[in-house]
Each structure stands twice: as structure tokens, then as C-alpha cells.
């Protein structure tokens, strides 16, 4: 099991677990205020948060692929066998 890197300052480490909730707007009140205050003074945490946010945006933008026609046909036949009307 890897050890916690000793180089991470304890106040950064204490707030690390809240970054994701902060990005989602789920951090409220005192927790939110404490994190925002810390971010003002800690460039490393600002970069960490910005790269996390960008990583989430990239995942959000991943495109989709069309359903193969062979699968689509199988599903149509399946629907017929269950007598489901296509809508």
C-alpha cells in the first residue's frame, strides 16, 4: 500500500477530499468558504482543482458511436418477439 506523500501540506490534504463536491456545487456553508479561502492562497491547489475540472469537462465531451446495424436488427426482432410496438 503506498504511503501518503509527506510533501503534501496537511491543510491541502484536509481539503483535497472536497474538490470533487466543490466542482459539482455540492459544497455549502463553512466547508465551501474554507476551501475558497484556501484556494486564494494556494496556487498548487488551484492548479489541482482546475485540472480536475478540465478532466471532468473532457469526460463530459466524449462522443458516442452509432449502434451497429446488425445489433439494431437483432433488437428489432427482439421487440417483435415480445410484441412491442416501435415508438
Amino acid at each position: 500500500m503506498p504511503q501518503t506523500p509527506p510533501e503534501i501540506p496537511s491543510h491541502c490534504l484536509a481539503l483535497f477530499d472536497r474538490f470533487s463536491a466543490y466542482v459539482d456545487g455540492e459544497l455549502q456553508g463553512e466547508e465551501r468558504r474554507a476551501l475558497e479561502e484556501h484556494l486564494q492562497h494556494c496556487p498548487k491547489c488551484r492548479v489541482c482543482l482546475a485540472t480536475l475540472t478540465q478532466s471532468i469537462r473532457i469526460c463530459n465531451q466524449v462522443g458516442s458511436r452509432p449502434v451497429p446495424q446488425s445489433l439494431s436488427l437483432k433488437l428489432e426482432n427482439l421487440a417483435k418477439s415480445f410484441q412491442v410496438t416501435e415508438t
Binding site: 503534501i8 470533487s20 488551484r46 480536475l52 465531451q61 445489433l71 433488437l75 415480445f82
Partner: protein, 175 residues
């Protein structure tokens, strides 16, 4: 049905290791949808109901295959390994519009990172960040607590971020 074909197929591609598994997942999910549709209660969202079925199929498929047992990701697993050397300036890739960065290679990198996540973490991050479900909906679909979703999501996101950092460190400057 066509709308859910597309959605479920792409969900399958994100969750499963290969396209054949994704196709099996879609077919098995539709069999269950058709079978249980008469009992569907209108008070729950149809989309959430469909994904609940898909997740349950996915879990059954995993039990049948030779997947490794569920592993937990600890905080230490996702803490930035180079925290002491972390930059104080925003890297170029974080300044670009996300859609400009995405290409087939980066998509494959994200897929590879997701594939190496333990299954529940994989499901959580795909449902939240790729399928656009809320924390509450994801918790309902996976039948776990919202607190559990948040912890797993946080760790999965950092895991993927580390993979992307590695990719952009070795990839050409996106600017």
C-alpha cells in the same frame, strides 16, 4: 426504442471491456425491459429504470466472467504522486476548450483509464460524468448511498485526471 439503443450501446462501450460485451449488455437489457415493462411504475423516471436494469445486467455479466473481485481505491491511490513538484501555473491543456482537445487518441486514453478502475468506481464515474445522472440518481441506480457515490466519484475522477496528466505530459502541446 431507438433512443435507448444508442444510449445503452454507448453506456456498454464505456463500461465493458469490448464491443461484443457491450452488444451483449444491450441485448440482455432490452430482453429485461420488454419482460418487465408491464410492471413499470410511472412514478420512477423511465430512463433511471432502464439504467437500473442495465447495471444489474452488467453486474450479472461480471459475475459470469473472470473479472477480478471488487477492489477499493484508497485515498493514497489517487493522491497526486508528484504533489511536491506540482506546478503552480496552469498547464496548457487545462486552458483549452475541452472539445478542442478531444480526439480519438485521447478518447482511447480515457477509455483505458476507466477500464482499469474497479467496477463500482467505473459505473459511478460513467453515470455521473458521461451519462449525466445526478448524485441522487446514480445512488438509486447503483443502490448505494449518496455519500458512497461522492467518495467513489471523487477518487475515480482523480484517477482519470492522473491518466490525462500523463497523456498531456507526453503528448504534443495542444496550443
Amino acid at each position: 426504442m431507438r433512443r435507448y439503443q444508442d444510449r445503452l450501446y454507448n453506456f456498454g462501450l464505456r463500461i465493458c471491456k469490448d464491443t461484443q460485451d457491450a452488444e451483449d449488455l444491450v441485448q440482455e437489457t432490452f430482453i429485461n425491459i420488454f419482460r418487465y415493462l408491464p410492471g413499470f411504475r410511472q412514478e420512477s423516471l423511465f430512463r433511471n429504470w432502464v439504467y437500473r436494469i442495465a447495471v444489474s445486467v452488467c453486474i450479472k455479466m461480471r459475475r459470469r466472467s473472470k473479472f477480478a473481485p471488487e477492489k477499493e481505491l484508497s485515498l493514497e491511490d489517487v493522491l497526486p504522486k508528484d504533489a511536491a513538484l506540482a506546478p503552480e501555473e496552469l498547464p496548457e491543456w487545462a486552458k483549452q476548450p475541452a472539445e478542442r482537445l478531444l480526439n480519438e487518441e485521447l478518447g482511447a486514453k480515457i477509455k483505458a483509464a476507466i477500464d482499469t478502475l474497479p467496477p463500482t468506481y467505473r459505473l459511478v464515474v460513467v453515470l455521473r460524468d458521461m451519462e449525466d445522472f445526478s448524485t441522487e440518481e446514480t445512488a438509486q441506480i447503483l443502490d448505494i448511498s449518496q455519500a458512497n457515490v461522492k467518495v467513489r466519484l471523487h477518487r475515480a475522477r482523480f484517477y482519470i485526471r492522473e491518466a490525462l496528466k500523463g497523456y498531456f505530459t507526453h503528448a504534443p502541446d495542444p496550443s
